[in-house]
Amino acid sequence: MSPREIFALRDHLGAELKGRNLSDAHHVVSLTDILSQTVLVGRLRELSGRAVLLKLSDQLRSGLAMIELDGIVRRMLLCPPDLDPAHLDALIADAGIDAVVTDEPDRWTATGVSLVVTAQLPLQSTAPAQTESATEWLMLTSGTSGVPKIVGHTLEALTGAIVAEGPAKGPAPVWATFYDIRRYGGLQIFLRAVLSGGSMVLSDPHEALADHVARLNARGVSHISGTPSHWRKLLMSGSAAQFAPGYVRLSGEIADQAVLDGLKAAFPNSSVGHAYASTEAGVGFAVNDGLEGFPANYLGNRNGVEMKVVDGSLRIRSTRTAHAYIGRNAAALTDGDGFVDSGDIVELRGDRYYFVGRRGGIINIGGLKVHPEEIEAAINRHPDVRMSRAKSRRSPITGGIVVADVILADGTDQARAKEIRDQILDQCRAQLASHKVPAVVRFVEALDVTPAGKLARTDA
């Protein structure tokens, strides 16, 4: 029996598919003949078998470097753009990094990393490389403080859900995402574009939303993903009217009924679906019936993904999960049975499970545990509300109370603010236990969203 064949990204990028490209706000790079070109100035051979840190200022060169390095290097650690440079030394030590691919080589001259390779455009011609061995993909968790954890994946695990779905019907998709492709949610979309024979349009953090949408249109984007916070921002911007993607996907945060309905109304001819995935647990499932939560019969073993609920938290075991945390003091990634504890708390109502919040995000209200997401979902059901954030505030009477910051939908008459506030409070009282009803509702113009596209919860 011959050894199992190893596939790398390059093996999905033959020249037989014409018209494929990867683009950002400044460049369009053809993927059709990408295998005979190099973003690493022809130095790929030097990186063979190395543990490589990928630290670039833009997604385009990052994506091109991933294509070139996969199947050649031993490890590849993807650094998201907001990584605190103070954490680099710890990450380099934990991942055993011995080479860096960067666009700022001067920054690395005085470091202990012996091999520094510069990634640059335009691409140069090179002889196509052959896949040598499976590369370990290392990603960072998007935690709020401290050194991020390093999560180890294989390409096979990362692409498990994509392969299981099979090839897309119809013309090759043009994918886009509001995420950065160096995070799990964005990488999923980049890999979908590469494996599906399609193209991809990258986001740019410096671009105005209206310009971004114009670019998505100009490039014919058919499939697009983002967090509920990304989508709420788009719905608020007024730019959605010019855009008509075929498939709209949400992941990374709880997709409540309000945002699903809002997207269905804004894109009446699109399929709108939400997916459950995390850097550690991989892609769990997609929900395409237009409803929040997921059917209870998703628990158990479904298409090779096993799920169970332990102490309210969703646990997942599948070949798509990460295989380990990497580093000197790395904790175990799975429980004794191989399940990843997601820390996402679910609640069974009728024949459906609903996400109520993160175990680590609980706020304490007078000694009672409250998930801010549950309160936000109740507030967001008001038709004039576009986005909200619930948090705790110190109280001299009860220790803590719930307060909510709310963004009203575009064009809401400010004179109605008091009436809307009363309606929101009535609605919350009808749906929530009394200690969860906000004591104070403030109307705000904007809410902070983290670089990972999630609502910022500084007090959580």
């Binding site: 007078g366 001299p396 009477i397 009394s434 104070v440």
Partner: protein
């Protein structure tokens, strides 16, 4: 609007929201007799802090929580501007 009328208005607003039937709000009515529970008082103090900029019960470590409606109003009236 005087501090007193702001306080009384906030009490009445919260009573409506919480479906509490208030007795007449005289100065010597004990807070217990208003029908407010601790959550309702917590809401009241938070809203008055937003409106007046002060929380007299947090500023002073040793301030006893007032016993009557009159004491409660005076706690806000006596805060130095």
């Amino acid at each position: 609007m005087s501090v007193r009328s702001k306080v009384i208005e906030a009490i009445q607003q919260i009573a409506r929201e919480q479906h509490v039937t208030l007795p007449a709000l005289s100065d010597d009515l004990s807070l217990h007799e208003t029908g407010f529970d601790s959550l309702a008082f917590a809401i009241l103090v938070a809203r008055l802090e937003d409106e007046t900029g002060v929380d007299p019960f947090t500023i002073s470590e040793d301030a006893a929580f007032p016993a009557t409606v009159g004491d409660f109003v005076r706690a806000y009236e006596n805060v130095p501007a």
